[in-house]
């Protein structure tokens, strides 16, 4: 079964994303696993080998860029798509995200429909 990993230190963001993605579970079989900091997030990703990772930027232990860099350093994870969640106004940091191999960006507060659209495209492929 496919896995989607949510890595964010804010519990409400994890909760919002999880509940959003549940809508897709009616049509696609996948499991949602969450992690509350970058370090745990990387461990979860390495263990679960997910299709899709939602990754916050500013997090304790390890920030989103470093997590993504580590994911990209592992060739066996090159099927994993990384969606970085940036705060409004941080759009300028996108280049940094692109440099470490982020595939997509979403701005917080996110549009649930955009999340669903993106996740569906990835899960469908």
């Amino acid at each position: 079964m496919d896995t989607v990993v949510i890595v964010d230190d804010e519990v409400h963001i994890r909760s919002l994303l999880e509940q959003t993605l549940e809508e897709l579970q009616e049509d696609y079989a996948f499991e949602i696993v969450t992690a509350a900091n970058g370090g745990d997030g990387l461990a979860v990703v390495q263990r679960e080998r997910p299709r899709l990772v939602f990754l916050d930027v500013m997090m304790p232990v390890m920030n989103g860029y470093d997590v993504c860099k580590a994911i990209r350093a592992d060739a066996s994870l090159n099927e994993t798509r990384v969606v970085m969640l940036t705060a409004k106004g941080q759009e300028a940091d996108r280049q940094r995200g692109l440099d470490v191999g982020v595939n997509h960006f979403m701005t917080k507060p996110f549009d649930p429909d955009e999340i669903l659209k993106l996740a569906e495209t990835i899960l469908k492929s």
Binding site: L16, F110, P112
Partner: protein, 595 residues
């Protein structure tokens, strides 16, 4: 909304709970949490196999909003039933409070997600609906946004309210064959109900509605909302579906949010249109004033825009490499229209006796009449003193007057002989009442009569040429918005030439854009074919094109555009609409198109 127990008893927490419980259960007891066929968690042996039909197995349902979403099952060997019961009761209470908490958390999250959706919708809508100041584009953006988010919408239409006649006019539609469907719909009593406010929001079965008589439309459900902004009616939004019971409260909520933004955007677009119309009326007023100033150039300011538009359309449609990259946006068309209407606006400050100067001696009056009076005076004086030497006699003076009148017309070049004759006449004298002698032609009159070609002297030519400078200065004073920033350039360049010999700035090829060159050609073509000029009768088509062909070869006008003017047939179409039949003679294009 998904209602399944696994959402309210997350597996991770259920697992923890069961792990804590397992060592506490008496031997042989097993418990399981199931949601229908799905096993969510359990403790004890055979937990996964537990069903309520097994002997000594009991169950407790978990109910949410009156709906059973799963159950707790437990098997107890008869000997330890009483011992187990308190644990089971405790487990049920625990699970129920977990479900209640999770239900509350999910409801709050659900609300937060709905708010996020609404924020996103508002953000997207306020961008997409305010992107344009054209009512139709705003309405299209509204319908597109609504249709992209709701699968129930088959058709949509925006009606604009016209305050002058209280009529709702169809502005735009969406969906297959929508225009043909909305047109009869707009005449129905049902639609009238929407206008009157009797029908607002969702009607999920039109045929059953009291205002629906004789339902024969493909529409079976509608969602309609008035579009109001600043307490004023702007229009009406109607969405329709081909099935009954098509629209949901979520559709209504989304549509209400968007309709309020759309109404404001439409209102702004209408206000902008009103301002634009007023500006256009001013432009039209100025063009009318210039045209009215001179009977001879009447209609020039109105006809040049037409020629320029036709030629520009030809350039847009042209498939040769010459104009392959040439594109015109809606703003460009507006720019060209304003520029062509106002290209001669500087003429409001040019004295009309210069604009129309019919003869060389014209100022506010034709001074040839003065010369005639002087000659009559000389003749009288000669008759009073018939013996005086130097008298030239009536015949001489009659011929002199005829000659001066002919020179005055400016239709022919002044030859060296004519110049000598005029100078001779100028030296003749007439005496005033005090016996004072004056020349027949004063210096200024002589200078005017000696004008080699046409009727304008150098000073007057400068005044005429000055009209472009006035045009440019007047237009520079108008704070055109960025989208119309080229008006001055297009209008002010119509007397410039590719070879740098034009005026007022002697611009050259590199500084003259295609539209500026188009305006120059339109101006010349109109002027040459115009019905009547004081100094000549209108040219025929062939003579006009001859002159323009020469101008094209001499680098006066753009040869590529001139060729396009010919091969696209623009000249012919314009001629058929505006020229007198006798002007439209046969034209041999091969002569010009050869190069």
């Amino acid at each position: 909304m998904v209602t399944s127990l696994h959402l309210y008893l997350p597996s991770k927490r259920l697992k923890e709970l069961m792990q804590t419980l397992a060592p506490l259960l008496p031997l042989g007891v097993s418990v399981a949490v199931r949601s229908g066929e799905r096993f969510l968690g359990g403790a004890g042996s055979n937990a996964e196999q537990l069903t309520e039909h097994q002997p000594d197995t009991r169950s407790h349902p978990f109910v949410l909003d009156g709906q059973s979403i799963g159950q707790l099952l437990w098997y107890t060997p008869p000997e330890c039933a009483s011992q187990t019961q308190p644990w089971i009761q405790h487990l049920i209470t625990l699970c129920q409070s977990m479900i209640a908490l999770e239900q509350a958390r999910r409801a709050v999250t659900h609300e937060a997600l709905e708010s996020l959706r609404e924020i996103a919708l508002l953000e997207r809508a306020s961008t997409s609906l305010n992107r344009s100041l054209r009512p139709k584009e705003v309405a299209n953006a509204l319908l597109t946004e609504l249709a992209s988010r709701s699968p129930h919408i088959t058709w949509g239409a925006v009606f604009l309210y016209d305050i002058t006649d209280s009529h709702y006019g169809l502005l735009t539609t969406l969906g297959h064959n929508a225009d043909a469907l909305f047109e009869p719909f707009a005449r129905s009593t049902f639609f009238q109900g929407m206008i009157d406010g009797q029908i607002v929001g969702i009607i999920n079965d039109i045929a059953a509605h009291e205002l629906c008589s004789n339902h024969n439309s493909l529409f079976h459900s509608t969602l309609s909302l008035p579009l109001d902004a600043h307490q004023e009616r702007v229009g009406l939004l109607v969405l329709a579906a081909e099935h009954k019971e098509a629209f949901t409260s979520a559709d209504l909520k989304r549509t209400t949010t968007l309709a309020s933004i759309a109404a404001t955007a439409l209102r702004n677009a209408q206000l902008f249109a009103a301002e634009t119309n007023m500006f256009r009326a001013f432009i039209s007023m100025i063009a009318t004033a210039i045209d009215a100033k001179s009977p001879y150039t009447a209609g020039h300011c109105r006809r040049v825009p037409e020629i320029a538009r036709m030629l520009t359309e030809a350039a847009c449609a042209d498939t040769t490499p010459l104009f392959a990259g040439f594109r015109f946006t809606e703003d460009d068309w507006e720019t060209l229209e304003i520029a062509t209407y106002l290209h001669d606006c500087g003429k409001v400050v040019t004295p009309e006796w210069v604009v129309d100067k019919p003869t060389k001696l014209s100022t506010n009056m034709d001074r040839v009449e003065l010369i005639e009076l002087r000659i009559q005076l000389i003749l009288q004086q000669e008759q009073l003193t018939p013996q005086q030497t130097g008298n030239k006699g009536p015949k001489f003076w009659q011929e002199a007057l005829r000659f001066v009148r002919a020179c005055n017309l400016g239709t022919e070049m002044i030859s060296p002989e004519s110049e000598a004759r005029l100078r001779g006449l100028a030296a003749c004298c007439w005496r005033d009442g005090q016996g004072q002698e004056h020349p027949l032609l004063d210096e200024e009159e002589l200078d005017n009569l000696l004008i080699r070609r046409g009727t304008l002297n150098a000073n007057e030519r400068a005044i005429i040429e000055d009209h472009v400078v006035h045009t440019i200065n007047m237009l520079k004073g108008i704070p055109f918005p960025p989208r119309l920033r080229h008006v001055v350039e297009y209008a002010g360049g119509h007397h410039e030439c590719l070879n740098g010999r034009g005026y007022p700035y002697h611009l050259t090829e590199t500084a003259l854009s295609i539209p500026a060159r188009v305006v120059a050609i339109a101006d010349i073509f109109e002027a040459l074919t115009a019905p009547d000029r004081p100094y000549r009768s209108p040219y025929t088509l062939s003579k006009t094109l001859d002159i323009m062909h020469r101008m094209s070869r001499e680098g006066h006008i753009d040869p590529d555009l001139f060729q396009l003017f010919l091969r696209s047939g623009v000249y012919q179409r314009y001629a058929e609409n505006h020229l007198k039949p006798h002007q439209i003679d046969s034209v041999d294009l091969t002569v010009y198109l050869g190069g």
